[in-house]
């Protein structure tokens, strides 16, 4: 090496864009231009305070120290290297601002992954092996830390009508076409319980694992439960609305007919006031008005009772005969102008049935029905009571035979289901029978109607009611 080369080499530290210093225990021996610009010190100046402690630690030792110092937005690392048997150290600085930013970014992402409420996992696209799971994902699926790594992706998919493998293939197929997939998936935990997640799935090239699928899972089990509850509530509201519409329609119809009866009667009575008719006709019309008042009152009571029925009423053991006797007296009193014969035949006494106060409304409405739809001069109602065992349950069976106009087969099928062609306003059951049906339904009982004499509806009907016996 010639002198020129030696001089040129001596410039090496001074031309270095990174700060380079040589310092003794208390002063700067050498500092290059980059160092001077950064630290604002020059040779013979005291050692910068920020470095003093680290320098003291390594001076006279053979260990190297590292020191990070921030200069505004810049971050530098200084490696402090002692020289053997010398009373000074060499300090080599380097700008690590960008590297620190990158590290911070990675640390931040890691923090996010660790603390986020969504579960995240990576699957290698080639073989479907799970290569990463965040803590939330592991917790969500009930696995220990790292336990899912290396397992096949299908361990997370619940078998529905499709197998876990079919679900995976379906999602991968869409990913290959569009690059992303999102939707609701039924997942399975380690303990076998299934739960619902909303998954956002996409693919990217990972520097280590190659092409991977990244899936972000949000546990939507609670949301699904709420949605299910909401659906059920909507269904209940829809049914309640439909019921209210039916009740409104029947109420309006019946009230209009009651008013028609009264209006026609008043018209006749007014006419006869000027031109008196025979007293029999007069009595007949007054009786009709009287019945319409009773009918209107019963209509109001039935509507009120309908609103009182609960799906799960409080039921107690009731003697069915007391209320029956009460209902018979009510019918006879209400239709005192009519010839009504009511006969009760029972081979059982002392039984109790699961019911409540609304039992009376069952009896009354069934008997009102028998009277209302009856053209005979003498209305006959025969009530047979017996015990019956059906579907391993003990019931008390009530049969209300009448000699009314009968019920056609087409009406029998839907009369207690509330489905008797309401949309075309064909005559279905009235509010009275709807009430009867609803009460019996709330008692877990049964009701249906038969011909009094099978195949001959002109002989009248038989309303059969089964109510649970209390043992």
């Amino acid at each position: 090496m010639n002198d020129v080369e030696i001089v040129d080499l001596a410039k090496f530290p001074s031309e270095n864009p990174n700060p380079i210093l040589r310092v003794s225990k208390d002063k700067v021996i050498y500092i290059n231009k980059a160092g001077h610009q950064l630290l604002n010190v020059q040779a013979e100046d005291p050692v910068p305070k920020t470095m003093l402690e680290s320098i003291k630690k390594v001076l006279g030792t053979d260990s190297v120290a590292s020191l990070e110092i921030e200069f505004g937005n810049l971050i530098y690392v200084f490696n402090i290297a002692p020289i053997v048997n010398k009373e000074y150290v060499n300090i080599y600085g380097m700008n690590i601002t960008e590297r620190k930013k990158a590290e911070e970014e990675i640390r931040l992402h890691s923090e996010i992954m660790t603390n986020m409420t969504e579960g995240v996992y990576l699957i290698r696209l080639d073989d479907g092996i799970i290569v990463y799971t965040n803590p939330r994902f592991e917790k969500m699926f009930g696995y220990n830390q790292g336990e899912m790594i290396g397992q096949y992706v299908t361990i997370v998919n619940a078998p529905t009508d499709k197998t876990p493998e079919e679900i995976k293939q379906e999602i991968v197929g869409i990913l290959e076409e569009t690059g992303e997939w999102h939707g609701e998936v039924e997942n399975i935990k380690k303990d076998g319980t299934s739960f619902w997640c909303y998954a956002n799935v996409s693919t990217f090239n990972h520097p280590v694992y190659g092409r991977v699928i990244v899936s972000v899972h949000t546990d939507i089990t609670e949301r699904k439960k709420i949605e299910d509850k909401l659906k059920k509530s909507e269904e209940l509201i829809r049914k309640a609305y439909q019921r209210a519409e039916i009740y409104k329609d029947l109420f309006a119809h019946d009230i209009s007919n009651i008013l028609q009866n009264i209006k026609s009667s008043i018209g006749l009575l007014s006419m006869w006031q000027k031109n008196p008719q025979n007293p029999q006709k007069l009595t007949e019309v007054i009786t009709i008005v009287d019945h319409q008042v009773f009918r209107g009152a019963k209509l109001i009571t039935n509507i009120q009772k309908l609103s009182q029925i609960r799906e799960e009423p409080v039921l107690i053991g009731i003697d069915p005969f007391n209320k029956l006797d009460e209902a018979v007296q009510f019918i006879k009193k209400s239709y005192s102008d009519k010839q009504i014969e009511i006969e009760i035949n029972s081979q059982i006494r002392g039984v109790k049935i699961m019911a409540n106060d609304l039992l009376l409304d069952i009896y009354e409405n069934l008997m009102v029905n028998s009277v209302k739809y009856n053209k005979n001069p003498t209305i006959k109602i025969q009530i047979e009571i017996s015990k019956i065992r059906e579907d391993n349950l003990d019931y008390v069976k009530f049969e209300f035979f009448d000699n009314g106009i009968g019920i056609s087969d087409s009406m029998k099928k839907g009369i207690f289901k509330g489905t008797t062609k309401r949309e075309d306003k064909s005559k279905g059951m009235g509010l009275g029978l709807i009430l009867v049906s609803k009460i019996i339904q709330s008692y877990n009982g049964k009701i249906w109607v038969e011909d009094k004499i099978k195949g001959d509806l002109s002989q009248g009907s038989n309303f059969v009611v089964l109510l649970m016996e209390v043992k």
Partner: protein, 123 residues
């Protein structure tokens, strides 16, 4: 005087209509308590009624269905609807009923409608 087929399932109303109609000099030719019975009676009556008073909401067959069948038998049958179901008025009128009486109506209105219907026939 008109001969009338009365179609109504409420016995009390049948009786009141009978009293009203006869008071005004009309003749109740037959009574039917449902739509099916109305069609059968209309078919079988040797002398067809001048007027049919038709309720709508009845068992087995409703008034609209019965009207359709009666009008198929006789396009000129004169039908007066007397119903609580106001929402079927348009349908009934489109089918060609003479008039639609919405319950409750007065006896005088019913009689006036019958007389009007008879005049239409006379023309």
């Amino acid at each position: 005087m008109a001969s009338i087929l009365l179609v109504e399932d409420e016995f009390s109303l049948v009786r009141l209509y009978e009293l009203v109609l006869t008071s005004f000099g009309h003749n109740v030719l037959a009574v039917a308590n449902n739509g099916e019975e109305a069609v059968q009676k209309y078919k079988n009556l040797p002398f067809k009624p001048d007027i049919i008073i038709m309720d709508h909401r009845m068992p087995i067959k409703n008034g609209i269905e019965a009207t359709e069948e009666i009008l198929e038998i006789n396009r000129d049958a004169k039908i007066i609807f007397a119903s609580a179901d106001k929402d079927i008025r348009e349908k009934a009128e489109m089918m060609g009923v003479i008039s639609f009486k919405s319950k409750p109506f007065s006896n005088e209105r019913l009689i006036a409608n019958i007389e009007k219907a008879l005049k239409i026939k006379d023309l």
